[in-house]
């Protein structure tokens, strides 16, 4: 029956996978209480301090000096040129919950003015800004995500109706939520800010995760057509996951190596902010590869068995599909 390189019994081992996943989920969610989520200035608001200067200033050095003067509070720096005066400016942005007090701001300015005396550094203004993307944005994101999940469940239910689509759809979404929580946990544990990079990674993993699960389901659908009468759903799932193994490995090796390349180049170029894109993406991809092989299928088989009251799982009817 199975002339394929891999022969792992995913269904038998499912308790192990479920346990690992539950621990991982709980850890990721708890970590946001332990470490605290750091929302970007766009979502959280913060303080912008602008200085004028002459000559040249290295942005990275300035950013590190500012952070040191503030005893480690995270600082982001950008530079610019004023359209009317033609003067150069440097802008520091700090998050609103970073513990920046008026006293610390005074210290910051005196330290920097002393250090960059040659550049005639001069404080122009300090503003406390409100979030640019507020509550409405978040609730819209949640509505959009829930709607997308609903549409995907319906789609999977229709396309895989011969093998009991609704439960398959729900399992695919469960795997998806798993992967997104892993991405979120990576951001929290690494102390990265929840910003546009976060949105980009979550959206990408959303896509990858669903796709990998669908590839597996497709194989189950096909095997069901070929051997539906001969094997139980558990056996079909095992066979299908094993047959798709080479594909899972090769696709993930290519995408993950692309992310590693991005990380390395980012470090070489000193654009470390890109790492907060590439690294969580890598974690999400790993999680996606894991959930599509170890969670989506086995969870589905388990739910089907529950539904049909143990014993022989809902023997999928012979498909009538062309």
């Amino acid at each position: 029956m199975n002339n394929c390189k891999f022969n792992i019994d995913f269904i038998k081992n499912r308790k192990i996978y479920f346990t690992i996943s539950i621990i991982l989920m709980v850890f990721c969610i708890l970590s946001s209480f332990i470490f605290g989520a750091k929302l970007d200035i766009q979502f959280k608001g913060g303080t912008l301090i602008t200085y004028l200067y002459d000559g040249d200033i290295d942005l990275n050095t300035f950013q590190n000096d500012a952070s040191a003067a503030l005893e480690g509070i995270g600082v982001k720096a950008t530079t610019g040129t004023d359209f009317t005066t033609g003067k150069n400016n440097i802008q520091l942005s700090m998050l609103s919950n970073s513990g920046l007090t008026a006293d610390k701001q005074m210290v910051l300015t005196t330290t920097l003015e002393e250090k960059y005396a040659a550049n005639n550094l001069e404080l122009v203004e300090s503003t406390d800004v409100s979030p640019s993307a507020g509550k409405e944005f978040f609730s819209k994101c949640i509505v959009a995500a829930s709607f997308a999940a609903l549409v995907l469940i319906i789609y999977i239910a229709l396309r895989f109706k011969n093998i009991g689509g609704w439960i398959a759809g729900v399992c695919a979404i469960a795997a998806l939520i798993h992967d997104i929580i892993v991405v979120y946990g990576t951001f929290i544990v690494c102390g990265m800010e929840i910003d546009a990079n976060f949105m980009a990674v979550v959206l990408t993993i959303f896509g990858y995760s669903i796709n990998s699960t669908i590839v597996i389901y497709d194989r189950i659908r096909e095997n069901n057509k070929l051997y539906g009468k001969k094997y139980s759903l558990a056996e079909l799932t095992n066979m299908s996951v094993n047959q798709s193994m080479t594909r899972s490995i090769n696709t993930n090796v290519t995408t993950i190596s692309a992310m590693i390349v991005i990380s390395i180049v980012a470090v070489v170029y000193g654009v470390t902010s890109i790492i907060s894109f590439a690294f969580p993406m890598t974690m999400g991809l790993l999680s996606g590869a894991y959930t599509s092989t170890c969670i989506a299928g086995p969870l589905w088989v388990w739910l089907e068995e529950k539904k049909s009251g143990k014993g022989k799982p809902a023997a999928p009817e012979k498909s009538a599909e062309a």
Partner: protein
């Protein structure tokens, strides 16, 4: 299962290959000519892609109310909403807007690169700061400065907030010949006020003057009592100016005049050199992926790489505005993520197919049989995967796109409770993902199949080993 083999002719490979390569080269470089120092761009290349503030930087503007004006928090909020709406009307879909309540400041950032010819940041800033107070007033009594006085100053019939919707319209029925005008649909309250006023003025043979800030646009004589809540504004409009006025009315009036306190450029928020790093990383990653696929899958891998080049070039073409019909968008980090996801889907499509061909060969099929059933069996997985991506992309574009786009209108039943808030960065992800996946179905499935089938017609290329099969 195996149908009669329909051979793809040998030259097909070269035709498809050359088409893809020519297309890719034209997307990379664009077509432009120099006449002296003046460059005329016929087809936009990769250089013409507009990047977001995160990658390329932009401008940073601080607006304040006029000296001595104390704005309330609500006024600042509504001013920010109006500015955001105006930016969207100006096709600025990537932006940040912050409010400092204690100092009454609104800080706005949007992408711009030095030397950009099609977009003038100073004109944009000026337009963002305009009050845009629309008023319909009784009569046309002017003082020496051409400002309303007497009853014209005191009796305001309608204001911008009485207008439910404004749009540019082209009127061909007017006696004075066809002309552009701005059509207004009034709110119920506005319709009532307008009906009362027109009834009174019609009896008196009076006029209504229409003002935008301190400028009188027109002052038509009231020739009928208007009760259906529809009004039009005429004046020397063309297509562009009527649309601009309609946009301004739709986005609402600012509660106070905005003064530009500072206006400067801003470096990329991801850090200097972000773009260079992304480009280099992209090229190296692509080379590694190409080598890996060719090493793993030999001939199908080689064909897959050509298809991927076509797919990437196609996506970039849509982003840069290479095709005249779609306006170039703004590419941000989530937009790049969309491209990465779509390319990943492309790699996956080719991996799935090549893997299936290998399997079929190892099951003892002939080369032709294996190719045909390999593509056939891989297709359902690829189709389902890509269609779900397309659904997700459409939902994102509908949720976070501009309110008058097709997808927004289509999905209005889901997002009706939200205002027309637009998040260009997420929209950008949806856009690149949608184009990338559609192109993947074209290049990764259709073109690669044509190429591989045609190559398999060559005697020298009929060894199953080249397709991952076992030795024969």
């Amino acid at each position: 299962m195996v149908k009669k083999v329909k051979r793809v002719k040998k030259p097909v490979f070269f035709v498809v290959f050359l088409l893809i390569m020519t297309f890719a080269a034209s997307v990379l470089f664009g077509f432009s000519s120099f006449y002296g120092d003046i460059e005329t761009v016929y087809v936009k290349g990769v250089d013409d892609i507009r990047f977001g503030i995160d990658i390329k930087g932009g401008v940073d503007v601080t607006f304040t109310p006029p000296e001595g004006y104390d704005a309330t928090d609500e006024q600042l909020d509504s001013a920010k909403e109006v500015i955001v709406q105006r930016m969207i009307n100006l096709s600025i879909t990537d932006y940040e807007a912050y409010i400092d309540y204690s100092n009454d400041r609104i800080i706005v950032r949007f992408p711009w690169k030095e030397g950009e010819a099609e977009f003038d940041p100073e004109a944009a800033v000026k337009e963002l700061g305009e009050t845009a107070q629309l008023t319909f007033r009784e009569g046309i009594e002017l003082d020496a400065m051409n400002q309303p006085t007497g009853v014209t100053a005191t009796n305001i019939i309608l204001e911008g907030k009485d207008v439910a919707e404004a749009y540019a319209a082209y009127d061909q029925t007017a006696s004075a010949g066809s002309q552009w005008l701005v059509a207004l649909n009034l709110t119920d309250e506005g319709a009532q006020k307008f009906a009362d006023a027109t009834a009174k003025l019609y009896a008196e043979g009076g006029v209504i003057s229409i003002w935008m800030d301190d400028t009188c646009i027109s002052y038509p004589r009231v020739s009928a009592v208007i009760t259906d809540g529809k009004a039009t504004i005429s004046g020397n409009f063309d297509a562009e100016s009527s649309k601009k006025l309609a946009d301004q009315i739709n986005s609402g009036a600012l509660p106070f005049k905005l003064v530009t306190a500072s206006f400067s450029t801003i470096s990329p928020s991801l850090g200097l050199g972000a773009l260079e790093a992304m480009v280099i990383a992209g090229i190296i990653a692509f080379i590694i992926i190409a080598l890996f696929i060719i090493f793993m899958y030999r001939l199908p891998g080689f064909v897959a790489v050509i298809a991927l080049i076509g797919q990437v070039a196609g996506t970039l073409a849509f982003v840069s505005g290479y095709f005249g019909f779609n306006a170039s968008g703004i590419l941000t980090i989530p937009g790049i993520a969309g491209i990465i996801l779509a390319v990943g889907m492309g790699v996956d499509a080719n991996v799935i197919t090549s893997e299936r061909i290998k399997e079929e060969l190892n099951n003892g099929k002939t080369l032709d049989g294996a190719l045909i059933s390999g593509y056939q069996r891989a297709f359902s997985a690829i189709l389902d995967g890509n269609l779900t991506m397309i659904l997700v992309a459409i939902i994102l574009m509908g949720a976070f796109g501009t309110p008058d786009s097709i997808f927004s209108k289509m999905l209005h039943f889901v997002f009706f409770m939200f205002g027309p808030s637009t998040a260009g960065t997420i929209y950008s992800f949806g856009f690149t993902l949608l184009t990338g996946t559609v192109l993947n179905l074209f290049f990764g499935v259709f073109c690669s199949r044509l190429m591989l089938m045609s190559l398999s017609g060559f005697k020298a290329l009929r060894n199953p080993k080249l397709y991952g099969g076992a030795k024969k």
